[in-house]
């Protein structure tokens, strides 16, 4: 396991290591807009619990950040989101840059003022949206050239422009503009994108007008090629940025490839800076990637699936519109403390979801956000209390017990664990959930060579 050993930050809890202050374009030191304090670390995996101090308050990690694309968390008010315990959420530079535009938001005292959110905000660069949403976008060294879907005007989103918009939005964490390619792509385009992302990172750092209030994160690229990833890591970690994101994943790649890249990346990222894994939100992935050393996650899945009437539970999800819930007078989750579960039954939500009253969607959205936040909280507590491995075992047991088929197929990673440590068990035809008692969590941190 390659891990950068910093003599000043041995693996002891409560070690205080302030992130080096980000530098302005003139190279002078500004006060740090971000500090990370590692509170606890798991001895058998790379999981850690930290405190992330940002301009709009402290965030406990590992953290899941709900996505409020257009300056709103869908049907949930800022007050409701705050009451659920959310301390950081996402806004989307591409969407907000188009409507209502950075000038207006700046007039409204930034995105915080515009949506009246007093906690932290993270904005992405807009790069991913453009490439995924727009049919006609062209990437050059300059930036991403595209046509506005609203008025047809030709626009260039350059690293400088992206940072300029994010400066106007005033987010606590902003992302570099990266040259993002699909993870299933192979060949020289992947390498080109990786190198370009490094050059764009440097341009973004220079363009940041407010390093003392806004933290610019780098995004590690390199596709599914370990050599490219390592090269990107080597270069980007030379730059003095307050945090790193692992990008270019959670596309069409297999799970096996996915967390190979994740664990490779966290191996080479500095311990005392936060690691943000972009676009990950399924409960199982969150647990695994925390074990692999990630601190921050975002995903539209929980809020999006809510609007289809799908409620997240420890055993998977409940499609509340289905007939089986018509006379189910239990809450979505008996153990959940969210306002929806405190007051409403699955049967009522079933009825309401079949009406055109949007309140139905809000009930499920509130629950799903609460579910994600409660999950991260449980993960974090288990790390702090030095029982993260047991937590993972229980988690898998709950998930796989109720979905034996899913665990056998979709939980491909469970099989890989078994291959690595107990290959003889594969020959046995025992029930899948029996395996959970013998899975060694150290397997989560296997090295790349020798599989």
């Amino acid at each position: 396991m390659a891990e950068p050993k910093d003599p000043l930050s041995m693996r002891c809890p409560e070690s205080m290591t302030a992130v080096a202050a980000s530098t302005t374009s003139l190279g002078t030191r500004a006060p740090a807009a971000l500090t990370l304090r590692v509170v606890a670390e798991c001895s058998r995996s790379k999981a850690r619990a930290c405190e992330l101090r940002l301009p709009h308050g402290t965030v406990a990690t590992p953290v899941f950040m709900p996505v409020g694309t257009q300056g709103t968390m869908k049907g949930v008010t800022a007050a409701q989101l705050d009451n659920l315990g959310c301390r950081i959420c996402l806004g989307n530079t591409y969407h907000l840059g188009m409507r209502p535009g950075p000038e207006l938001i700046q007039k409204a005292s930034g995105l915080h003022g515009f949506m009246n959110w007093k906690r932290n905000l993270l904005t992405d660069s807009g790069g991913f949206q453009m490439v995924s949403l727009l049919a006609l976008s062209e990437v050059t060294e300059e930036g991403v050239r595209f046509r506005s879907p609203y008025d047809g005007a030709e626009i260039l989103l350059s690293p400088e422009k992206s940072v300029e918009i994010q400066n106007a939005l005033g987010s606590d964490i902003m992302m570099q503009l990266d040259d993002v390619v699909s993870s299933t792509l192979t060949g020289s385009r992947v390498e080109e994108a990786m190198h370009r992302s490094i050059r764009w990172l440097d341009r973004c750092i220079l363009a940041n007008q407010r390093p003392d209030q806004q933290n610019l994160f780098a995004i590690i690229q390199g596709g599914l090629d370990p050599a490219l990833r390592r090269k990107c890591l080597e270069e980007m970690t030379k730059r003095n940025v307050p945090g790193f994101a692992i990008g270019g994943l959670s596309g069409g790649e297999s799970k096996e490839q996915f967390w190979k890249m994740v664990t490779l990346s966290t191996d080479q990222l500095p311990r005392e800076k936060p690691r943000y894994l972009m676009g990950v939100g399924y409960a199982t992935d969150l647990v695994v990637c925390v074990a692999l050393g990630c601190d921050m996650f975002d995903c539209v899945f929980p809020t999006r699936t809510a609007r289809f009437g799908s409620a997240l539970v420890p055993t998977g999800n409940l499609q509340l519109k289905k007939k089986q819930f018509a006379k189910d007078f239990r809450p979505i989750d008996e153990a959940c403390t969210c306002p929806t579960c405190q007051r409403h039954t699955r049967a009522f939500l079933h009825v309401l979801l079949h009406s055109n009253n949007t309140a139905a969607l809000h009930h499920v959205t509130v629950h799903n956000i609460a579910y994600q936040l409660q999950l991260m909280n449980a993960i974090r507590t288990s790390i702090v209390e030095h029982r993260f491995p047991e937590f993972v075992q229980n988690f898998i047991k709950t998930m796989s017990f109720c979905h034996p088929l899913k665990a056998r197929h979709g939980g491909g990673w469970i099989w890989i664990w078994i291959c690595l440590s107990h290959p003889h068990l594969l020959c046995k035809k025992t029930a899948l959930h029996d395996y959970t008692y013998i899975i060694d969590i150290r397997l989560l941190t296997f090295s790349l060579d020798g599989g």
Binding site: T72, K74, M115, N116, V351, S355, T358, A359, L361, H362
Partner: protein
């Protein structure tokens, strides 16, 4: 047999003893909802309804409105966002059209609609139809009335209707009625007579069934006044319905364009003159502020609150003033909340909405481009969640980007504003300022 009934809203105020006689009288005094009239000003009644609800411990002032719901929930709002609104009425309106198809679920649930929808604290009135969604006419027979739910048409005989109500267990329920006297092109006194006959027959049958069920006896019947635009039929309906042991009256069929305003108000006044003073008068389908005032003057006590919902669906915020005694400070606040274009009645760059119900003069359309960079509240001086936390520019943005939060915020504002209007009516009646309020409201109507 005597029974001790609390006087007023709280038991502190003491008790009075009433003698219960079996049969009709007992039904009528069921849980002794009490109506106390404090004054009558130019035909407008001001008072309180007390001993409401299954426990007999809730009250409601009138003139007032009920909380409008769709499928058992305030539109767009969860409990958290609803309870932030001030002035939410004690009584909630449910619509049978949205709930009837779920009656098997409620039968199995057993604990009644209030608990099922997560509003155990509220008092419920169940109307037949939804004032916002008109249902197709031509489906009333001598034996049945139909409502339209998500799953289509649901035909209800008296027996079925009462069975559904037994599962719902509302506190007040609109009795099965024939409201289609004016649905055909030409008004006919024959059709009007039929609507009255049928409605009375339904009422009598429902009352009979009610006697046979303990559960149903805790729900009280609202008698429905029909008769189209024929005065004699309206009077007959009023007099006959008043003879039955109902707890209140619904004046049906006065909404829409079927009759002129003058005819409508004349008929309403004539009807209420025939009704006992000690029972509340409800009206359906009337929500616009000027029309509300006219109906109150004609003797109506309770209204629905679908009007703020309709404004919300149009992307509009209710902005009409009901502050008939503004102090100079408030005047400035209100003015700051208005742009010049509005004063002149201009509508710059209006984006045409897809809703069919036209915008009224009591609201502003936040989709309009002029609000794009207006960082003031929806209404200056409004203390609702939206006005205290957000700007017109933000709501405009939410509407332009089709975000769900637009509906949530607008509904919160529009409900609070509307409930505030009714509060102002009661205050104006209390302080003898009705004329000023009327003048203010009519000035804003056009």
């Amino acid at each position: 047999m005597t029974k001790l009934i609390p006087i007023g809203c709280t038991r502190r105020q003491g008790y009075r003893a009433i003698v219960l006689r079996p049969g009709a009288q007992e039904l009528e005094n069921n849980f002794t909802m009490k109506l106390s009239l404090s004054r009558v000003v130019q035909g407008c009644r001001l008072g309180t309804l007390s001993n409401l609800g299954k426990k007999g411990d809730r009250c409601m002032e009138f003139p007032g409105c009920l909380l409008y719901t769709r499928t058992g929930s305030a539109p767009h709002l969860t409990h958290d966002t609803l309870q932030v609104i001030s002035g939410v009425p004690a009584m909630t309106q449910l619509t049978l059209s949205s709930l009837a198809e779920h009656y098997e679920i409620l039968e199995e649930y057993k604990e009644g609609i209030g608990k099922f929808i997560g509003m155990p604290e509220s008092v419920f009135y169940c109307s037949l139809h939804d004032p916002v969604n008109p249902c197709p006419a031509g489906f009333v027979t001598n034996k049945s009335v139909s409502v339209w739910g998500v799953g289509g048409r649901l035909e209800m005989t008296v027996a079925k209707f009462m069975a559904i109500q037994q599962a719902l267990q509302p506190d007040w329920l609109q009795c099965l009625s024939d409201g289609e006297a004016l649905c055909a092109d030409a008004s006919s006194s024959k059709r009007a007579k039929k609507s009255v006959d049928r409605t009375l027959a339904f009422l009598d049958e429902c009352l009979k069934l009610q006697e046979q069920s303990e559960v149903l006896r805790s729900c009280v019947m609202i008698g429905v006044i029909e008769g189209g635009d024929i005065l004699e039929e309206r009077l007959r309906s009023a007099r006959e319905t008043a003879k039955r042991p109902v707890v209140g009256f619904l004046l049906d069929g006065f909404h829409g364009d079927a009759m002129t305003k003058e005819t409508r108000l004349r008929l309403i006044s004539s009807v209420t003159a025939e009704l006992p003073e000690n029972k509340p008068r409800l009206i359906c389908g009337i929500g616009q502020p000027d029309e509300v005032l006219e109906c109150i003057e004609a003797g109506v006590d309770l209204f629905e609150s679908f009007f703020p919902y309709q404004a919300t669906e149009r992307g509009c915020a209710l902005t009409f003033s009901f502050d008939y005694e503004p102090n100079p400070e408030d005047m400035v606040l209100q003015q700051n909340g208005q742009k010049e274009g509005e004063e002149n009645g201009e509508h710059i760059d209006k984006i045409i909405t897809t809703k069919c119900v036209p915008e009224t003069s009591f609201e502003i359309n936040l989709k309009e481009k002029m609000y794009r960079d207006d960082f003031g509240p929806l209404v200056g001086g409004c203390s609702c969640y939206c006005c205290k936390n957000h700007s017109r520019a933000y709501v405009h943005h939410l509407l332009v980007t089709n975000e769900l939060l637009a509906g949530v915020l607008l509904m919160m504002h529009n409900f609070q504003h509307y409930f505030g209007f009714f509060h102002a009516i009661r205050e104006a009646l209390r302080k003898d300022r009705l004329g000023q309020l009327k003048e203010l409201i009519y000035r804003q109507a056009c």
